[in-house]
């Protein structure tokens, strides 16, 4: 359906860091990837450092557009001053890129796709419909939504990881540990993320959490 929205109205706080405007899923766009991030304060990492390779990578070309405010991008170690109106196009999926907002109200729109291939939504974006509920701390609804999404992708490590986050925040410790353990086994990159992710603060001191992050078998949870 055609439609319209302001970036700032779409953007929701799903975790610490910038607010996320889930542009592609909001409009139901199927031809290219598109999202936006909004930093309400200077100093926020508006684009987390990443490349487009690896288990979570998509080999996408990415175009970043600073729609408002001011940011400093870093691509392969080069620092780029990017006031509103700047396009930063990263064609090399291997290039490490990230950006820090230097003004409050900085918004960056990102469009992406893989040259020569029809667009398919990235696995990491599958969690979007459930992550919306993090903004209102309605973690039970988020868990319901994650379970619904898992019907189509039961072994998606991103979905399992985000589900574990919701369960941790909802006080369902055993479920959280079980799903985190599964996520880490499927994609060890989540180990490092879990160690720093404040969503796991409620379960961080549990011995089962350490086992789950270490990828050890039998965490004693209900799992599936």
């Amino acid at each position: 359906m055609s439609g319209t929205a302001k970036i700032t109205d779409l953007a929701v706080q799903v975790s610490s860091g910038p607010r996320w405007a889930m542009v592609r899923t909001h409009f139901g766009i199927g031809a290219f990837g598109v999202n936006a991030y909004v930093a309400d304060e200077p100093g926020v990492a508006i684009i987390g450092e990443h490349d487009e390779l690896g288990t979570s990578g998509t080999l996408h070309e990415e175009l970043y557009f600073v729609a408002s405010g001011h940011a400093t991008f870093t691509v392969n170690g080069d620092e780029i001053d990017a006031p509103a109106g700047t396009f930063v196009f990263v064609r090399d999926p291997a290039a490490k890129r990230g950006a820090i907002a230097t003004e409050a109200g900085t918004a960056v729109v990102i469009a992406g796709g893989r040259p020569g291939e029809a667009f398919t939504p990235s696995a990491w974006e599958r969690s979007a419909p459930a992550l919306r509920y993090f903004a209102t701390q309605d973690y039970d609804k988020a868990i319901e939504e994650f379970e619904r999404l898992r019907a189509d992708a039961p072994d998606d490590p991103g979905l399992l990881y985000n589900l574990a986050c919701a369960e941790s925040l909802a006080g369902r410790s055993a479920d959280a540990v079980g799903h985190l353990s599964q996520a880490v086994k499927l994609d060890p990159d989540f180990r490092q993320l879990a160690e720093k992710d404040s969503d796991f603060d409620p379960i961080r001191t549990m011995p089962e959490f350490a086992s789950a992050v270490a990828g050890e078998p039998d965490t004693g949870s209900s799992g599936a």
Binding site: L10, G30, F32, A36, L63, N76, F87, F89, D92
Partner: protein, 212 residues
């Protein structure tokens, strides 16, 4: 030659190519940066009341997302009129008629587009817009060279030959105009129908050699 890992450009540095008589100015982004996976362009209206998005459908099936990057515009989306300030996103499905007029001077829109389910193909109109844009700016020879490049990039598309015919007709080159139009009709007979109504050919229409 190794491609650079990244490119940077500011809106203010993009080229300007006038598109129509309503003030629409095309600012190529995809071409400038070398994007291949999806289309991206910017459009600027110098004055309030100038067009900033052409009124059109996307008959080739592109989904399009517009962002008001600067200023303010009134969008028409189907039957709906939308007041769109900077930071507004407007999404149009291929079958939705859309267009926009600037409410403030220097209003700029960034447009992203592609067709779902297929690899992105670079739009043939880009090269033609460059050529016709140079002509509108009074840079005839640059325009002619750009048109030759556009045709060479897509030798089997009738649109390149057809627009080359328009270009030569508008610059008073009867023989070149006739030859390009003839070639366009050979590539696709529908070029004849367009030529019969196209005011670019008014001064040639009664010529016995006019192929349409």
């Amino acid at each position: 030659m190794t491609e650079k890992a990244y490119e940077v450009a500011h809106l203010d540095e993009l080229d300007h190519f006038p598109v129509d008589e309503e003030g629409l100015v095309w600012r190529p982004v995809r071409r400038r940066l070398g994007i291949r996976a999806f289309g991206t362009n910017a459009y600027t209206a110098e004055k309030e009341g100038d067009r900033v998005v052409e009124e059109h459908f996307e008959r080739d099936g592109h989904e399009e997302l517009y962002l008001v990057a600067k200023g303010r515009a009134t969008f028409t989306l189907g039957e709906e009129e939308i007041d769109a300030s900077a930071g507004t996103l407007v999404y149009a499905t291929p079958g939705t008629k859309r267009g926009a007029v600037a409410v403030e001077p220097e209003t700029t829109i960034v447009a992203f587009g592609a067709k779902p389910g297929v690899p992105h193909e670079i739009s043939g109109w880009e090269g033609i817009f460059v050529a016709l844009g140079y002509l509108k700016k009074g840079e005839e020879e640059k325009g002619r060279q750009a048109m030759a490049v556009a045709i060479a990039e897509r030798p089997n598309d009738w649109q390149g030959q057809y627009n080359a015919a328009c270009f030569e007709s508008l610059t008073g080159n009867k023989e070149a105009a006739m030859a390009h139009l003839q070639r366009a009709i050979e590539l696709d007979p529908k070029a004849r129908e367009f030529a019969q109504k196209d005011t670019d050919f008014d001064w040639l229409r009664d010529d016995p050699e006019f192929p349409a």
